[in-house]
Symmetry: C2
Subunit: 212 residues, 2 copies
Amino acid sequence: MGDKEISKAVINRLPRYYRYLGDLLEIDVVRISSKELSEKMKVTASQIRQDLNNFGGFGQQGYGYNVEYLHSEIGKILGLEKRYNVVIIGAGNLGQALANYVDFERRGFFVRAIFDISPRLIGTKIRGIEVLSSDLLEEYIEKNTVDIVAITVPKAKAPQLASDLVKWGISGIWNFAPTDLNLPKEVTVENVHLAESLMKLSYRLTVKDEEE
Amino acid sequence: MGDKEISKAVINRLPRYYRYLGDLLEIDVVRISSKELSEKMKVTASQIRQDLNNFGGFGQQGYGYNVEYLHSEIGKILGLEKRYNVVIIGAGNLGQALANYVDFERRGFFVRAIFDISPRLIGTKIRGIEVLSSDLLEEYIEKNTVDIVAITVPKAKAPQLASDLVKWGISGIWNFAPTDLNLPKEVTVENVHLAESLMKLSYRLTVKDEEE
């Protein structure tokens, strides 16, 4: 697209549209009106039309949206028609959970290698993928195409690891360590901060309690 | 606070302030100016002042913020001075990762029980907490105070489970299943959709590629 004008809020909603349309496809729904989609997704119909107009519309007056077409077009916008080589660093429970999540593959994300420093884990296999020693990481990145690195190491180790990764040429990081990585602008970092999500939940529970 | 006027964007930033201030406390920083905090957090100083003014300020002209005080006040706003009894449903890798995350306890979230349907997992222990059969869930909730239920079961099972939980009196849900739960308004649901986070990453990588 190369269009920088698309707001972050729209981008945040696209994966959700994609997920809903995928659910509809699974139950063989062929077309849907923006009104129906809006009821399902709890977003206003005009919001949906506005969001999709950012990418040229896709809808047809009086017909609504062709589910398969819209799903595939949003998939293209999200870059899901490509294949991504993913490497996970940290083979603890969270790293294992990511490695075991087959749904990622369906969307083009393939876990190619898992690294850890623990002798207890090195050599074990997760869904057929061997856990390698972190000592081999630099060499692995040199010899293989790695599009995305998922970081599931402890907070204290994440900043150094991330800056090493960038030095070795990695430009896409999926960060699960509970810290912000200060990396050059050209590196794309997507954070999943679980503790912050839990704090938002406790905030909302607290406000609710006080209102009662 | 009972103040409904506080925007979602502010609420989303509070856990991050809390995390940063906690990091500063760990290295014995006593006070910080909004300018310094702003440089660390990559948020403008005026944004920080504005955010904190929602809760009465906390800063002192010419002094800045007392780190410990601000940390503790934001903690109170987030409801972190309380203790939450957490139950995890689904003892797979993700459930285990959550159960093993000791940092949650430091913030008042205590995992009291883990449930699963798999005979292979029932009876095993995760950090000393026994995995119980899901058959016992309703009885457990009846006999114990449960503030938050983390759902890490497959997508297909999540909606029924969530509506059972609500029927049994649960009003705080931390949902990891890749589906939206359609629950009554009085139930607070915080979603962690990993696949959507990954799609946002691929979108940003795609846009970057096309700009180059």
